[in-house]
Structure formats: C-alpha cells, structure tokens
C-alpha cells in the first residue's frame, strides 16, 4: 500500500499552515519530512493519519493494506503517549484488546514485539521506571504489534538525549533491515533525516510548501560507512533550510 497526498492544503481559521502539498510515500520506503519549526510538519502527519481533515485536497491510500494489518496507519509520538497506569505489557496489550484475538494469541504478539525491541526483560515495569529511550522502544513495540502498513513518526527521537538518539537510530535501521517498513518520519533533526530517509522532503516556513525533494540512494544499513556523503547531504539540506529557519524565527518574534 502506498500513500498519496494529493494537493493537500490546510488552514486554522484564517492562518494557512500547509499549501498544496503533493507527494507519495512508496511501500517499504522511509520518507522524512523536515522544515523549520512551525512549518506544519506535525499537522501534515496528523492529516496523513486521519486525526485531522485537510481543508482542501486529500490523503489517498493507493492499494489495499495487507490483510494482517490491524491498524494500517500507526503513529509513534514524540512524547511516547504511554499509559502510566499500565505496565509495558499492558501498554502493548491496550491496542490489541479491541481486536478479536484469543488471550494466548495476544500474549504471543506481545512477546514477539518485546523481543524485537529488546524489551523482553521489562514487560512488568511501569513507564515511570524506564528511561526515555526505553519508553520510546515501548511505543515502537506497541506500534509494531498492530502490523502497521505505514508508520507515522512525529519527531520520535526529539525528546531523547543525543546518545540515546544514536542508539535508537541504529535500532530503527536494524528493524527496517530485517523487515522493511513504510514510514513517514517528521523531524527537525537533519542528521536523523539523512540517516533514516530514502527520500527527504524539505518544507518551507509557514504556510508549508514543498521546497525540495531529495532522494538518498545509499542503502540504509551501510550508511554509516559513507559519512562524508551523509555530511555533504546534511550540509546541502541545511543551506536549503537555513534562510527559511531564520525567517521563521523572525516571524515568530513579530507575532
């Protein structure tokens, strides 16, 4: 299943936030969306997953999601959004409980996703007992448990410190290499975009328009071997974004 954004425009009242966004997320690819703060990246992601409705245009599913997908469009949030009163297993279980599954099938799925995210030993811990990186891994496990056709990741690593971020990026690359998933990855961190994206979409400041689309042909798993190329790419993205970010900064000061 691909996702196609067809001329999506969105406004809050009189304020136009997104203007004529048009691109496709191809199955098995990670599309990164970057842009200065306040450019509507997160709004765009909410539109893609159906948490908001665009003022104009449409978000289209091209083809059917796989039959075993319980929640085709699945979010991973910046603030993790874990229920503090449920354990790690309970948090994963939450999103399976509304599906017709036997208790043993549910337990098997939970065991599987916890193993894949290296959380098997922490099933009975409460979120407050876990570090930020572990909490986000729980959220990733929860997302994987519903077999998403497309992951919608809203700055998933932005609340974490830089070491944890590096480790989780490696984890994401490993997860993708073992079983390629489709993802829309919103971030303001250019290093994340060049490490994880097959395609990087650069948005302008508000109202967000597509400023540039950059394809990265390097294979995801071996990217760290091409540091120089990645750094050149990152520098190029930064020159694209720099003046937008600067202008956006001044705009906010005026408002």
């Amino acid at each position: 299943m691909d996702l196609h954004l067809s001329h999506v425009t969105h406004r809050y009242g009189a304020v136009e936030v997104l203007d004529d966004i048009d691109f496709t997320v191809t199955q098995g690819h990670i599309v990164c969306i970057i842009g200065p703060s306040g450019c509507g990246k997160s709004t765009l992601l909410r539109l893609i997953g159906g948490l908001e409705q665009p003022a104009q245009g449409a978000v289209l599913q091209v083809g059917e999601p796989p039959a075993e997908s319980r929640n085709p469009l699945t979010y991973i949030f910046q603030d993790f959004a874990l229920l503090p009163w449920r354990t790690v297993r309970g948090n994963v279980s939450l999103v399976l409980e509304d599906h017709a599954l036997t208790a043993s099938a549910r337990e098997a799925i939970i065991d599987d996703v916890l193993r894949r995210t290296k959380l098997s030993d922490f099933g009975d811990a409460f979120p407050r007992q876990l570090s930020g990186g572990m909490r986000q891994r729980v959220a990733i496990a929860r997302a994987l448990s519903v077999n998403p056709a497309c992951l919608l990741m809203d700055e998933p690593l932005s609340a974490l410190d830089s070491q944890t971020r590096e480790l989780l990026m490696d984890d994401l690359v490993e997860l993708w290499s073992r079983e390629p998933f489709t993802a829309c990855y919103v971030t303001h961190n250019l290093a994340e975009a060049v490490r994880l994206g097959h395609r990087v979409i650069v948005l302008s400041r508000r109202p967000g328009r597509i400023r540039e689309v950059v394809d990265i042909d390097l294979p995801l798993a071996g990217r760290m071997a091409h540091r120089a190329a990645l750094e050149a790419l990152q520098a190029r993205l930064w020159t694209l974004m720099r003046e937008e970010a600067l202008a956006a900064d001044l705009e906010l000061a005026d408002a």
Binding site: G49, R70, L73, T74, Y75, F77, W85, L94, V146
Partner: protein, 269 residues
Amino acid sequence: MPEARTAPKTRPVAFRGGGFAPRPVGLVGPLVFVVLLVLWEVGARLGWISALILPAPSAALAALRDLFDSGLLFKHLGASLQRLALGWSLGTLAGVAAGVAAGLFSLARAGVVPLVSAIFPIPKIALLPLFIIWFGIGEESKVATIFFGVFFPTVIAVYGGIDNVDRSLIRMGQSFGLHWTSIVRKIILPGALPAMLSGFRITASISIILLVAAEMIAAEFGVGAYILMAGNLMATDQLIAGVAILSVLGLTVGWLIGRAERFLLRWRS
C-alpha cells in the same frame, strides 16, 4: 611586585541549598496528642480547669464506657454509619455519573455545570426542613441531605479530573482505532482517578459534617443526636465523648481513602 604575592585565603563555599522538603516524621503526630491529653488531664485534676467548663479526658472516657455498657454506643453509631454509607455512596454514584457525562458531552456540560455552580454553594443543612417535607422525618431526609452535599462536589471533581486527562493519550487511543468505550474505560477514567479520589476525601468529610447536623435537627439515635442530648443536659463529659467518636470516624474514613489511593494509584511514584 609579583614575588610579594601571598597565598590567597581559602574557605569552603557556604551551603545555601536544602530545605523546602518536608518529610514524614513518625512519632510526632501521636506525641502531640498525648502531650495535649496529659496536660488537659493534669490541669483538670489540679483544678485549673473547671469540670463544668471542660471535663477531664478520663471523665469523657468514663462517659464513653457508660455508653458502651448501656449498649447504646452501637445503636447510635450504627444509625449514623448507615446514613453515612447510604448518603455518601448514592451521592457519589450519582455525582460520578453526572460528572462523567459533563466531562464527555458538550450538551451535558452545558446543562449540568451552571446548575452545579448555582446549587453547590447553598448549605444543604438549610434545605433540611424542605427535605423533611419532601421525604418525611425518617431516614430519607437525612440521607437526602448527605446525598446532595456529596453530589455537587463529586460532579466538580470528576469533570475537572476528566478535563485534566492528558489529551495526547486520548489522541493515541484514537490513532490506534480503539473503540470509544475503550478510550473512556481504559484511558479517560483511570486518568481522572487521582482527581476523583481527592474529591472523595473532601466529600467524606462533608458527609460527616452534614450527618451530625441532620441528626441534631431530627433523630432519635445517631452520634449527632447523642451530642445534642448531652449538650441539652449540660453533660459536657458525654459531649466530649461524642465529639471524640466523630473525630475517630473522620480519621478512619481518611485512612480508608488513603489505603484506596495507595492501592489504586500505585503506578505513580
């Protein structure tokens, strides 16, 4: 000139942090009680405090023993506890239902909230004569007084608690396609539980206050009736004994809610 430099004076940086972190100190609470009681008893025995103005704790204890021996203690206490249990649980049940409705539905909120604001500040005891006309002089009017006293603060605590549930958790539930009932049952209600429990703490105290007030106006049995009778007879030792029963009742209820909080909110640090 540079040769003449002497070693600079060294001293540790003065500590100016700390404080502002009260911690539990085990025995102080009971000790304050004991010291006050001992002072009181000694004062009474030495004649500093007249027995008519304030009877000694031992006299109040004796009155309590008399009450126990006559078998009336459990009759009074039983009648009070029954009213309390009935009024508080019915009021809480109705209050939670109305509060959840006001927390979830715009229409219910628009209807319920102004009504609550209008009626909550009225002292329910002022309405007791009206309740007696409506429900009779028996148990119903007393239960109704407690019911209304509990209902309104419960509504406020519950819908306030629901308003404070983290919206990002609700959005998460929606994004995973959870049913509406699942979101309410598994995200909104547990999220509002801390606010509900602190509301229960307040309504429990309110219901004890209203219970005594209602029993003082019209009741044969009940702790409030006992206190009123003692007051009319100037039997201050019995009066103190009755007040002590109320105090113990309040402490017990507070302790029970504390236990419930510790069990239900054990996921908090």
